[in-house]
Symmetry: C2
Subunit: 295 residues, 2 copies
């Protein structure tokens, strides 16, 4: 009658690997078991999920539909476990995620004061997991930097802030009062080009057909390390530049760069007095960037 979440997890692994053997390794089970479980799932759902040719494994339309649905479903199940565990621990906690550079202390302090029975936690997120932490229940609300995948979320805009370029201190542009985005056309950007469409559209290295590889960087610190080492430049929100200041990296205001939008996000299916009261506090708060250390 009910789908089995274990089988769903198996299915997602196979759908992502498109290879039974590798998926089985990832799941730490034997390959024949996985084959059998997927077969069973297909029977239960009365739907073929994969086309297995001897040489390749592909998703059917039904499989694609299931993959779309299975991921949020599994995330919701994880979130449920987390929330129950927390409720059982007795101590009611409320966890707030936030992206680097954002200063949440004042809002958090006011929220904690208004809810003294609550244990209020904060979690620093990254680009990769700022949405994930919401879906899997690690945080109750998260202060995110747009753009994000908004599916299943409620967003409340908080403020906008300019974005600036971070270059090595000995860079030819370092020290200029401001630059145009076109000045960066022949630079190497240490992040996903889509995050800065203004640069992507003019970048020489992308037009040359030989884009340089972008290392996978999960934190601002790592990114700055690469900038300082002269491996490239980076575009970050003003507050990030202010917060993660280091002498061997210079900050440059850039004209014609759309500001970064910051919003509060939470799961649309959840309805909680606490979430709404936090949202109201956050909306009312003064998010003006603190005076930068650069000044």
């Amino acid at each position: 009658m009910d789908v089995d979440l274990r089988k769903l997890r198996y299915f997602v692994a196979v759908a992502e690997e498109l290879h039974f053997g590798r998926a089985a390794d990832r799941l730490h089970i034997a390959q024949p078991v996985l084959s059998r479980q997927i077969r069973a799932l297909e029977n239960e759902l009365r739907a073929q999920l994969f086309v297995r040719t001897k040489r390749a494994t592909e998703l059917t339309p039904a499989g694609r539909q299931l993959l779309d649905d299975a991921r949020p479903l599994l995330a919701a199940a994880d979130a449920t476990r987390r929330r129950v565990a927390q409720a059982a621990r007795g101590a009611k906690t409320f966890t707030i995620g936030f992206m680097p550079g954002l200063t949440v202390t004042s809002v958090v302090r006011r929220f904690a004061a208004a809810n003294p029975e609550l244990e209020v936690e904060v979690v620093r997120t990254t680009w990769d997991d700022q949405v994930e932490v919401l879906h899997d229940g690690r945080v109750d609300v998260s202060i995110v930097r747009l753009p994000i995948d908004q599916a299943g979320l409620v967003l409340r805009p908080l403020f906008e802030e300019p974005r600036v370029a971070m270059v090595p201190a000995d860079h030819r542009l370092a020290g200029k009062p401001s630059i145009d985005i076109t000045d960066l056309a022949d630079e190497h950007l240490l992040q996903d080009p889509d995050a800065v469409p203004e640069w992507r559209d003019i970048a020489l290295e992308l037009r040359s057909g030989h884009p340089r590889a972008v290392p996978v960087l999960h934190s601002v610190e790592e990114k700055l390390e690469h900038v300082a080492a002269g491996n490239g430049i980076s575009i970050v929100p003003q507050s990030v530049a202010d917060f993660y200041h280091r002498p061997d990296v210079s900050t440059l205001p850039v004209n014609d760069l759309a500001p970064n939008k910051v919003a509060l996000a939470w799961i649309a299916t959840r309805r909680s007095r606490l979430i709404h009261s936090f949202a109201d506090l956050a909306t009312a708060a003064d998010w003006a960037p603190r005076p930068g250390r650069r000044a």
Copy 2:
């Protein structure tokens, strides 16, 4: 590792019945099995879900949290099954729910014309299931009458329409050009008083402390049957009155009655080109009530 949806369903049954025996009956399993499964669930989650005194069964805080999460989770699982089954059937269908009185044909026709590869279905909903059909995947979008439980949904307002009173044709007020809500203070209303707060706040029968029972009515037709039989009166949106017209029931415009709001709703976690294109069509459509047959 993963929670078992079967156990979750069992849990919900027990949480709703607060009685292992009755819950077991409802689930068509033996009571000891149910006791054991709930125990197992409690162990897996490392959380006590019920306090079992010899005489009563109560939810713990963790149990309440789980109940809140389990219901949408199970609904999402159902919806997944439905959508996969549909995708497997090959014929891509798009299903639109709508409440009584609403005329969706023109929008549906235009949507079907714009998506000829699609099989477009319509489903009439009721007050009870207009939200449920969205959560369990029976429809892709639904045209709902507010107020509804908006958790997990995206709403797009479409239009508003006045509400009118339906009374027996031989009622003392029948035939009046219009009445005030106060004229109905000593009438019996055949619906949930909270649906018409203007009446609830003045109703004599509610102030007397001896409210008459409201029969459980699932369709407009049943409601009108009761009205015609003289068992009470009913407040409905104008378009419902126009559509379900019968000679032994009269329609009365009522002053000081907030209009009924109609909106398009869909599941917040879903992101589909089709849903958005339907939403745009629906927003652009002319929803002005058709000329009533009463005229």
